[in-house]
């Protein structure tokens, strides 16, 4: 467990450059916060020793009043085994649970957006099936594009310019 963690602190598992590239601009604060936290923890880890630091017992042996004390301490120190900390608040589990939730949301988004893309693509391909400009008649043009023709529900006055029609109201302009 310890060696796995030690190996990882040399290079981060997170591609920060890619993360910064894909994150939407409105969430840049999230990235900043998590990056600063990551850097803080990384600095702390690098400052502290990787393994149990060595003590020079032979040097102490000559200076101690009680030489057997050095031997006792050495034996105890070598036999020391420090337990790896336990994740009391189950943060890792919480992270995994959040991951599952986000997966579902991401799937929904991707299917919806993909449908939009496909709809747009079919629309572009359908535009290419329209006849050429020379092949229209006045009648067929109006059949293809009904909003260009005469609409009995909305008669317009010659010269049929949209902005001159009495119907058109600009924002804020009062009718009376």
């Amino acid at each position: 467990m310890a060696s796995k963690a030690v190996k990882r602190v040399s290079s981060s598992a997170v591609d920060w450059a890619r993360f910064a590239a894909v994150i939407p601009k409105v969430q840049i604060d999230t990235l900043r916060n998590i990056k600063t936290k990551h850097d803080t923890f990384l600095n702390k880890v690098h400052q502290l020793p990787e393994n149990l630091p060595k003590i020079d017992f032979s040097g102490y042996k000559s200076r101690l009043p009680d030489p057997s004390m050095a031997d006792r301490f050495q034996k105890a120190y070598e036999a020391l085994s420090i337990p790896y900390p336990v994740d009391k608040d189950h943060f890792l589990q919480k992270v995994e649970a959040e991951r599952e939730e986000q997966d579902k949301v991401v799937k929904q988004i991707v299917t919806f957006v993909q449908k939009e893309i496909d709809g747009n693509r079919t629309f572009i391909s359908k535009i290419d099936t329209l006849p050429k400009y020379q092949d229209y008649t006045r009648e067929s043009f109006v059949y293809y594009f009904p909003d260009t023709g005469f609409d009995p529900q909305r008669p317009t006055i010659w010269p049929h310019h949209e902005e001159d029609q009495p119907y058109v109201r600009k924002e804020g302009e009062d009718h009376h």
């Binding site: 894909v22 994150i23 702390k44 997966d103 092949d135 009495p166």
Partner: protein, 267 residues
């Protein structure tokens, strides 16, 4: 300052009839448009359309070719197999001669209308022909653009922009993965930091105790040493009698004199 048609609307709305209300123009969704195009295509170009007997009327790019300004080239081509290149001209000249000889075309004062008129036409074409042609061409081009090219291209551009936007959104969903990895790593780093903190604490505790013991024993020994040195020194100085002091001073002076004599000799 209202446009004239708006004033008409205003006047009309002053009447006691039904007031002029705002009707928004028709707008269609993409699905509606596609449905409409499919349906119209199936009617105009579908299986029931008789393309052989009723071909689709297509607007040609320009009017058919003409020779000598006004005579269609197809008439010349029609006569070419039988009479060659000079045929139509010979026909025209011969026809004119025939009409003159038979007095169908009489050279009176009305005759000159024809050459005058066609000469003027030729002159106007010579001076302003290109201008007129270009003007009408540009007007047609503008009409095509406004009615057809611009809206169609706008629709396509909007679709392509929407596709780009959607693809960007799909790319942005990667953020979830990165966030998850970053959070996991943060938690694991914290655990690692706590572990290393424990190692450091153990080391420091052990070292503290060893250092204390060694420092303590060093201090005791040092104190003993200093005390012994002081005691010896004080006893020695006390034991020096005045007689001994005098003798040692005299011997020092003698030694110094000897050294001075040696110095003079060596110099």
């Amino acid at each position: 300052l209202m446009r004239p048609l708006q004033m008409i609307g205003l006047c009309r709305s002053g009447c006691a009839e039904e007031p002029l209300r705002y009707i928004p123009p028709k707008s269609f969704t993409k699905e509606q448009r596609m449905e409409q195009w499919e349906y119209v295509n199936s009617i105009y170009f579908g299986p029931e359309r008789d393309m052989k007997n009723f071909p689709n009327p297509s607007q040609p790019e320009s009017s058919p070719a003409v020779r000598v300004g006004i005579i269609p080239a197809s008439w010349f081509n029609f006569l070419y197999p039988k009479t060659g290149v000079t045929g139509p001209f010979a026909l025209g000249g011969g026809l004119a001669l025939f009409m003159l000889s038979k007095e169908i075309m009489v050279i009176d004062h009305y005759f000159w209308e024809i050459p005058s008129f066609w000469g003027a036409v030729w002159f106007v074409n010579h001076k302003f022909g290109h201008q007129i042609r270009n003007y009408f061409d540009s007007q047609l081009k503008l009409k095509k653009e406004i009615i057809y090219s611009r809206p169609i291209n706008q629709m396509k551009a909007n679709c392509e922009e929407a596709i780009r936007f959607c693809e960007k959104k799909i790319e942005e969903t990667e953020t979830a993965t990165h966030l998850y990895l970053a959070k996991k790593e943060n938690v694991e780093l914290q655990l690692e930091a706590a572990y290393r903190q424990r190692l450091l604490a153990a080391y420091q505790e052990v070292k503290k105790r060893l250092d204390y013991e060694t420092a303590r024993s060093d201090l005791v020994r040092k104190f003993e040493q200093d005390h012994m040195v002081d005691w010896i020194e004080s006893n020695v100085t006390k034991s020096i009698t005045p007689q001994q002091e005098q003798e040692s001073i005299q011997s020092c002076i003698r030694a110094l004199k000897k050294l001075a004599a040696k110095e003079n000799v060596s110099k």
